[in-house]
Amino acid sequence: MAYPIELILSRHLAESLATPVFLTDTTGNLLFYNEPAEDILGKRFEDTGEMSVEEWGTIFKNKDDDGNSIPSEDLPLVKTLMTQLPYHLTFWIESLQGTAERISVTSFPIIGRAKTFLGAIAIFWRSDSTA
């Protein structure tokens, strides 16, 4: 059993980028995250391997500029997984250790050659302003 070539190439691309990249399957399970993303998660892919959506979805809290929690269904990656469309949003993430960071997230679906929905990619753009 191997992953579809489109996911394999997505992982290779992520490994080559300096921006944090998260790669999920169609249900949000985290298949891979690159080194820059390790800094955001506070975990190393080498140590965790793949993570279920329940596991990695609780690593940080998501808040808007007013400090209100953002429902998970409004987050770009979740919306992409539900609709197979791209989304973008800037918001705050707060780690379990209490560190907050303003971040922009761009997510898009991976649609394979056979026009099959295979998963999604979320790219985290870090801003300079941290609290």
């Binding site: 059993m1 191997a2 992953y3 579809p4 070539i5 489109e6 394999i8 190439l9 992982r11 290779h12 691309l13 490994e15 080559s16 391997g49 050659r113 056979a114």
Partner: protein, 278 residues
Amino acid sequence: MNITLWGVRGSIPTTSPDTAAYGGNTSCVEVDADDWMLVLDAGTGIQGLNRSKNLRKGRIDILLTHLHIDHIQGLGFFQPLFDPEAEVHIWGPAGNSQSLRARLGRYFSPPLFPVYFRNLTCNLILHEIEKSEFTIGPFSVSSDYVIHPGPTVGFRIQNQDSVFTYIPDHEFVLGSNPLKLKDLRWLSGRTLADGADLLLHDAQYTTDEYQKKQGWGHSSMDDTIHYGKLNQVKKLLLTHHDPMHSDEQLNLLKTQLREKYNSAVDFDIAVEGSRIEL
């Protein structure tokens, strides 16, 4: 099943005295079992099949890994295509927009070729494949996309208990280091090559040559030997020889690789005209 290598050269045919031993024809492999025949790719090597006693009447299945010219250049000269009594099935990778027929039609039309696709006189049936599993007579065939520019598949062919895997164009190391890969699900072509009795795999370049040709879609000999080891294949044949590699160079490279890898993997360099029984 019996496997005959009619073309093992990559990129462009090389008819030269100094490439005569390994052969200069581009990719084409014949697979026979129980009076059924598969033709893997239709490079210029298909001319050897045209001339051989193996060519039969009735049904023939041509399995194309992709449509680069070195893999279809011989197609227009394959005799069964012009035989009204022949039933020819062409299996090729699905693309993103144009049909297999439309893409092959670019070759089967002037000015590249004088005969239009619609003028072929055989009973022609086209099959678009992707990550697919299908049966042809005694063969169970799996196809899957592999890393190479444009839609490209490899094939895993099983007959009784024997497995033959064919991936002639493949750059599985692109953007990664498979030697550090702990989870082989991330290895391109893994499902096709895993535990094969025979793997015929792209090994166009030396390691030095590959450094200058990353992204061109092909593998180095060293990487392919590692690939054979990762997939625990029983026998590995290196193919798609670079057109600039002479027989003398290939012999030298084989000696060096044998010294370097000793018995890590049972490998050899593919020779045009050779026949393997699995």
